[in-house]
């Protein structure tokens, strides 16, 4: 598969979208800069910032030591002092080393002082790349519990760009969860619109009438595949793409579930206290009298994510499981 942008100029990948959106924001606003491990001269582990060093210089494309706590705290200070840092975590998994500045400094600072902390925390996350227990994690639940943070998880190429632009322009700390799996697999014809997509607005990714599937990130793509298969069986699946987890557009979800009276929530994170538990609970409270079946979750097993393909596939939700669950709920 070609990875060089010039070779695929007629197509834009999910990864290209992030790169283009980031570059556009850096062009637009002098206070936006990128920092992280290997982002400068190397162009980033996933090559999001390829060519940025030549374009923006070392002042705005800042290579950091391996020091997630230190450089995330530094980003907090820079934001408090008026800049708009975009922090790249090489893998979302590494963000555990930066919990403290995110939770105790960034997330609380505006509430305590009235001073905004506009930081975008870019996190390549999720599994299916055979990368194992400490390179495949879904981190959203760790942070969704913390007031003061926003969490964004695009499922499409267009949203990868539009939501990143909104995240950078937002005056709050935003966790931007990038699907490593979709980076080079998802593509659309060029050129890509670089207009902001508002945070907190879910999208009906596919209309349907029999059952609502609520998901985000890679789960939306899986849901669309499953919906296509089930359509041939006469089951009509409505797929809701949350786009942002915090704030969550619960109204769009509730409206859909009241229409279909059945809901399945899908994500790649572990089942126990995964973000699906929150969505299911909200649906249960808002739609109790509309439901014809229990709200059902599809999620990873409550295990670390193994490396070897047959093991990882056994832990993470597979499209076949999504199809079966939707079929069962739709027919119950």
């Amino acid at each position: 598969m070609p990875t060089n942008k010039e070779q695929v100029a007629e197509e834009v990948t999910y990864l290209d979208a992030i790169s283009q959106a980031l570059a556009a924001e850096m062009e637009r606003d002098e206070s936006v800069f990128l920092m992280g491990e290997d982002v400068g001269q190397f162009g980033g582990a996933f090559k999001i910032s390829k060519g940025f060093m030549e374009r923006f210089g070392a002042r705005r494309v800042v290579d950091t030591p391996i020091a997630e706590n230190g450089f995330t705290g530094m980003a907090a200070g820079a934001a408090i002092c008026g800049l708009r840092p975009v922090v790249e975590f090489q893998f979302a998994d590494f963000i555990s080393q930066a919990f403290d500045p995110i939770i105790n400094v960034m997330a609380r600072h505006h509430y305590r002082t009235g001073v905004p902390v506009p930081v975008t925390l870019r996190c390549p996350f999720g599994g299916r790349l055979r990368a194992g227990p400490t390179h495949s994690q879904s981190i959203e639940s760790y942070f969704a519990h913390v007031p003061g943070l926003k969490i964004v998880a695009p499922a499409t190429v267009e949203d990868a760009a539009g939501l990143l632009i909104s995240s950078i322009r937002d005056n709050n700390p935003v966790l931007f969860l990038e699907s490593k799996y979709l980076y080079r697999r998802l593509k659309v014809p060029a050129p890509l619109s670089l207009e902001p997509t508002p945070l907190g607005v879910a999208k009906v990714a596919r209309e349907g009438t029999d059952v609502t599937l609520v998901s985000y990130s890679v789960g939306v793509q899986q849901g669309l595949e499953a919906a296509e298969v089930l359509a041939r069986e006469g089951i009509s699946v409505e797929v809701i793409d949350c786009r942002t987890l915090v704030p969550l557009d619960i109204d769009t979800i509730v409206k859909s579930v009241k229409k279909t009276s059945r809901a399945v929530v899908l994500h790649e994170a572990a089942r126990r206290l995964g973000y699906g538990a929150e969505i299911a609970s909200e649906i249960g409270e808002a739609c109790f009298w509309f439901l014809d079946a229990p709200v059902t979750r599809i999620a990873a097993l409550n295990t670390p994510i193994p490396t070897s393909p047959p093991l990882e596939d056994a832990v993470l939700p597979q499209t076949e499981e999504v199809i079966e669950t939707l079929r069962k709920v739709a027919r119950s």
């Binding site: 200070g77 400094v105 002082t113 902390v117 709050n172």
Partner: protein, 337 residues
Amino acid sequence: MATTRKKTTGKSKSPAGGVTADRELCLKMFRTMALQRAVEDRMVTMYRQGEMLGSVYTGHWHEAIAVGTAAAIRQGDFLCPLHRDVGAHLWRGMPPWQIMASFLGKATGPTGGRDGTLHYGRPDLNIYNPCSHVPDNVPVATGGAFAFKYRGEDGLALCYFGDGATGNGGYHEAMNIAAVMSLPCIFICENNQFAYSTPLRLTTHADFYKKAAGYGMPGVKVDGTDAVAVYEATAEAARRARAGEGPTLIECVTMRMHGHAEHDPASYVPREMLAEWAKRDPVELFAARLQKLGHATEAEIAAIRENVRQEALAARKKALGDPMPVATNIEEGVYAD
């Protein structure tokens, strides 16, 4: 990249002949140190009278550090203090009653009661409001320093931390980053011999100032009870920072004369150690020096002491009389617009 450095706001003096040649500056520093002492003594009394929300964290014997550093930088510089640094807040213009209001959970405190006790700051005075976790203000300070450098301004960030905070990895990461990026940052280590109950020998196996060499930055050790020494070391570090020469670590050696906070009788501190340090009261030492320099008479010193005592009493009265916050807007401000 940008090499012209724009001037930040505020003045810092580097008087010819050193700080001691400037009578006005010396008297202002002394008054602020004495005010810190008076305010903290009053807050200890308020704690004992049961007026405070929680405990009171004092900076007895840290006055020369707080004031000596704050006086040697500009108002526009980014100041990241901790709980021993009341004098730095006062130097910048924080009124004593507002510090007390923070300890009382009042609506007029710097956070309006959303945070409280020792967690206060004033964005308009360029004072960062630290959280409980030490040394979280140290990486934040590097970010402030980064922002000045990024904008091509000659401002700097100055942060304080205790000997105990240096045990945390975030501290090392921040020091290393500041050195690697040559950030205009001044690191003030307030070595007061104890991290809560943990004595120095259980915190470090080397002198703090010597560790600076390991990061490739200058490390200096000063007598933390000597306001002049602290001022001069800070002024030199500030000169380096503004000239683009990078960060400096200054270890200021002093003693924590009270418990970690007022609830703590500090029975783990040897009494003879306290007795020895009691001879080196930074406020007394500076008062004697001012008289020796001919900057103030004994009567003038006494007048300043009485003046700050009255200010502390008035501050208590105002803070106690101020309203408590109302919870009507409690969900507002979790997010910025």
